[in-house]
């Protein structure tokens, strides 16, 4: 990414524009691109949602399975998040096991859902220490045009809200399905916002162009009470000052509220 002249020219242009508070696509610094959220796009999955963030396109499917709980939390269901950067989504993605980008994406989405206690995992325990439900959240990136974290976190939350669990009864320690469905117990709505630092400006919802030239990246995930539940700094060889981080928390508080309305409504 660093060797290309084009990137350097781009960076110069993007940074110049930012000096006068402008962006390449004429958005404000903290404006998001158009957000489309569509729930229930995959009928086979217990829950699903597809989020378009401009040209970025992410689909999340939720499957419910059963398994044994972790020994240290015998009364809680299990949550797992996996992310696939599908090769058809970008010339930069290649087939194969998840690389560090995919692992990071999955773990940041996971942390937001887990730490905000979005799912009431205790309600997913069938038999303490033996049998619990497992919530598999699979993030599938279909087109990469920047800001995969926010798009994936939004899609994951929308998919969880959309998830229906079959009714069941327990017979001889086994789960027997009954007709009908109940919603997955969702008790919090974590929203992630990702800042990019370019020069000395903080911007939100980076397009791919901006992402290629950013100095550093900072994701903040907030709960419905406006508390912070997850943070991840990443993306490049830049850094943040303490003042910038304080500024980011202020913007994030406002922005996560706006975005939450969109996702919960959908």
């Amino acid at each position: 990414m660093t060797d290309s002249v084009v990137v350097r020219v781009k960076k110069k242009r993007i940074a110049e524009l930012l000096e006068s508070e402008k962006r390449v696509d004429e958005r404000g610094l903290t404006d998001y691109r158009e957000i489309q959220i569509e729930s229930g796009v995959i009928e086979r999955a217990e829950g699903s949602a597809r989020v378009h963030l401009g040209k970025t396109d992410v689909v999340v499917g939720v499957k419910i399975g059963t398994g044994t709980p972790f020994p240290d939390v015998p009364d809680k269901g299990v949550l797992t998040v996996n992310a696939e950067l599908v090769p058809l989504a970008s010339p930069d993605f290649e087939p194969g096991p998840p690389g560090e980008k995919a692992v990071e994406l999955a773990r940041v989405v996971d942390r937001g859902i887990r730490e905000s206690k979005a799912i009431d995992l205790e309600k997913l325990c069938v038999e303490s220490g033996k049998l619990v439900f497992v919530v598999f959240i699979d993030v599938y990136v279909l087109n990469h045009d920047g800001n995969l974290i926010d798009a994936s976190a939004m899609a994951a939350l929308a998919a969880l809200i959309n998830t229906k669990m079959f009714k069941y009864e327990v017979k001889d320690g086994k789960i027997v399905k009954k007709p009908g469905y109940t919603p997955l117990p969702i008790i919090n709505y974590p929203i992630a916002v990702t800042f990019a630092k370019i020069g000395n400006k903080l911007i939100l919802d980076t397009g791919l162009d901006e992402e290629q030239v950013m100095d550093a990246r900072l994701t903040m995930t907030m709960t419905k009470d406006g508390n912070i539940c997850a943070i991840q700094k990443g993306g490049g060889s830049g850094y943040f000052t303490q003042e910038e981080i304080v500024e980011a928390t202020k913007i994030a508080q406002k922005k996560t509220k706006e975005l939450r309305k969109l996702v919960v409504k959908s």
């Binding site: 692992v103 942390r111 508390n227 539940c229 990443g234 850094y239 303490q242």
Partner: protein, 260 residues
């Protein structure tokens, strides 16, 4: 010392017996006898590995961390090379015996993420543009883990990079802050990390006021979070002084030896 050991044993027993009732007592003293804003004892040494170009060893509480740095050298595999700068290849790895239950030596998803964030915490410090097309390998081995290993790893790795003679803008130093029993604390040990309410690891370059790693999990209000970052930065500054001391002492020892 003996009394100390006894206490540790008791603690370990308590730890394995599920959640301890209180992480902080009425007087504001933590399980291991520390105050809320007190760091664990830190020991560092540089130049500990004969084969590596740079190396460092650190103990912070029961954490034991060893870092070896190789390079700058020809990048392998070759396609990772950058035309205008060096790349850092960083591996954060936990020894199988470093934790209570044996950890598989194969890299976990956690290890992959930590290798990435640690690398990104170190990159801003190194003058990568001085060594185009090369690679600097940073191997972090956690020999024993007691909470805050990513921070300990970064602190140690920065020392090893400096020991390798690689030009840097500043040392990188890392320290975590967090919350347990409703109180903000600094430098969380294992139990506080696992049972506590939040963990905020921070890596910092004191001379540049630059935060190069910032993560958080748990639940904090914005004010609590900002205070936690302040506490972590203060912790970083204390460790920074020790880091510089450790670097200097390598050469002091050589001088004294020559005089004799």
């Amino acid at each position: 010392m003996k009394a100390n050991k006894k206490k540790t044993k008791k603690e370990t027993k308590k730890m394995s017996n599920k959640k301890p009732e209180k992480l902080i007592d009425k007087k504001g003293i933590r399980l291991d006898g520390r105050k809320l804003d007190e760091l664990r004892p830190v020991k560092m040494e540089v130049g500990v590995l004969p084969n590596a170009d740079g190396s460092a060893y650190l103990e912070q509480g029961k954490n034991k961390v060893l870092v070896g740095v190789y390079g700058p050298k020809e990048a392998h595999p070759r396609h990772i090379a950058q035309q205008d700068r060096a790349v850092i290849q960083c591996r954060y790895h936990m020894a199988p015996f470093s934790v209570d239950e044996r950890k598989s030596p194969a890299p976990s998803r956690r290890d992959i993420e930590l290798s990435k964030v640690v690398r990104e915490a170190l990159e801003p410090a190194v003058f990568l543009e001085y060594y185009p097309k090369t690679s600097i390998q940073v191997y972090i081995e956690i020999l024993q883990a007691d909470g805050g290993t990513r921070c300990a790893g970064i602190t140690t790795a920065a020392l090893a990079l400096a020991d390798a003679g690689i030009p840097m803008r500043d040392l990188v130093v890392a320290c975590a802050a967090g919350k347990a029993d409703g109180k903000l604390i600094v430098d969380l040990m294992d139990t506080e990390d696992k049972v506590g309410d939040a963990d905020v690891p921070v890596a910092f370059m004191p001379n540049l006021n630059a935060i190069t790693l910032l993560q958080m999990d748990g639940n904090l209000s914005v004010d609590e979070f900002n205070n936690a970052v302040n506490m972590a930065v203060d912790g970083c500054k204390q460790i920074y002084a020790l880091q510089k001391e450790a670097l200097k002492s390598k050469y002091v020892t050589v001088e004294e030896a020559e005089e004799e």
